[in-house]
Subunit: 98 residues, 2 copies
């Protein structure tokens, strides 16, 4: 099985590099060992779910220096609040229209 | 610990009751035993994450007759594709600006 990191955010009104940094984080995470995929949506609340092979990959990504700097900027200016949940995916079902 | 159901969707162009049904499903789920909360966002991709006390509550909700009818309508007209992942929340972290 694999893991999901559910990151739910409420933004401030401050942009100041937010979109660029968010795009850069996706790019950077995608190159990490253990990265499986990422899904993102915002309408008021933002939800980003990234998928990882194991807890070790999640820890390594969390400690990446550039990611750390982005986290700091998140606390300082971009987020009003957030929740981060680390989950183990137990079952999944996928469907596509023919 | 508790569980998260990550429901990721791509919509068709068909509305036909979609918003009303989505709102009704939130209302209905909220009254279910074992329901903890729900978060939703859409920008192209839609992500809805609902939180539940245990797997039994998730099963009961999945089998609710009105929910079943909504699932059928989803297959028939509302979704191009979707993924459903049932996850166990292992760790969480929450932050709010002072």
């Amino acid at each position: 099985m694999y893991y999901a990191v559910i990151f739910t955010t409420e933004r401030t009104d401050v942009d100041d590099g937010y979109e660029e940094t968010a795009a850069r984080m996706v790019e950077l995470a995608s190159g990490y060992d253990g990265f499986i995929g990422i899904e993102s949506a915002r309408s008021g609340t933002g939800i980003t779910v990234s998928y990882w092979r194991d807890l070790e990959s999640i820890s390594r990504w969390h400690e990446n220096a550039e990611h750390r700097a982005a986290q700091e900027a998140g606390y300082e200016k971009w987020y009003r609040s957030f929740k981060l949940r680390i989950c183990r995916v137990e079952r999944e079902y996928e469907w596509e229209r023919e």
